[in-house]
């Protein structure tokens, strides 16, 4: 049995107030990541000791994790489409897929961070270490929140508490997940592919 949807409040423009509030939140997140990326770029190439990005960044491994995150975005929109048409069987599959995709990304990040620390790159090692771990760590924390959010939706779907009437709830979770994805698109280019 599907539970009733929460009451929907529309703005004077006829927009869902939850969605509007969430877009405003995403706007504020742009400023947060903008400041972290700026800090990374300002200090790029100014470390007085190693390891440097060229010595330590593993592009092939990060390319795979980038592909994984891109695919999880596809699974997210497929989950939303399934919820909207009331196909809860596939909605559960795709929601779990997103959570697993996010967990795999975090696994890659854990592998990357631990190998960097073994090679001498810590937050205290140099400016690159400090700015790199803060930026990618903040992104990783966002992915972690997203994975927990997806698992929550998946459990609600398993319990029969998620149905087509909750499509907006899934769409808002999707907005968060895609935002995490687009931020990674920027980080992958600026930090990994355009390193000095």
């Amino acid at each position: 049995m599907s539970h009733a949807a929460p009451p929907t409040h529309y703005t004077s423009m006829g927009l869902d107030s939850r969605k509007m509030g969430f877009w405003a939140f995403i706007g504020s997140e742009c400023l947060l990541f903008g400041s972290l990326i700026s800090t990374y770029l300002v200090y790029q190439g100014r470390s007085v000791s190693g390891p440097t990005p060229a010595q330590i960044l593993n592009i092939p491994v990060t390319s795979i994790s980038t592909f994984d995150l891109l695919m999880s975005s596809l699974w997210m929109v497929l989950a939303l489409a399934a919820v909207q048409r009331g196909d809860m069987k596939w909605a559960k599959v795709w929601l779990l897929g997103v959570a697993i995709g996010g967990t795999i990304f975090l696994g890659f990040q854990f592998y990357e961070f631990s190998s960097f620390v073994r090679e001498g790159l810590t937050m205290q090692a140099n400016l690159f270490g400090a700015t790199f771990f803060i930026l990618t760590g903040t992104h990783g924390a966002h992915v972690t929140v997203g994975v927990l959010w997806m698992l929550t939706l998946w459990v609600r779907a398993l319990q029969g508490k998620l149905g087509p009437q909750h499509a907006m709830t899934v769409e808002i979770a999707g907005l968060y997940w895609h935002f995490v994805d687009v931020i990674w698109i920027v980080i992958f280019t600026l930090v990994y592919l355009l390193h000095k």
Partner: protein
Amino acid sequence: MQPTHAADAPHPVEHPHPTAGVYIRVAVILTILTVIEVGVFYVPTFHPVLAPVLLSLSAIKFAIVVMFYMHLKMDSKFFTLLFGGPLLLAAVVMLGLLFLFGVLTLGR
């Protein structure tokens, strides 16, 4: 007597979302662009133009995800304003800091 606010209540504005086929085509395009990005990184011929090429590809991927997966292409323009405004502000602040700290310079 009917509540007077009922007639004044705003009508929800619904926008149709893309189909699963569109979502899959978008994913294929994103994958191809990512492969090109990584390929360009490893081809020495592209190194003189690496930054503009990679930044352009990244911007295209960013725009595709925001337009199709986050539905800004179909949704209310007000959502575009809510997202685009702070995004533009973040970009301007970023450029300002990069010029201020000498990472970017005009001319030479």
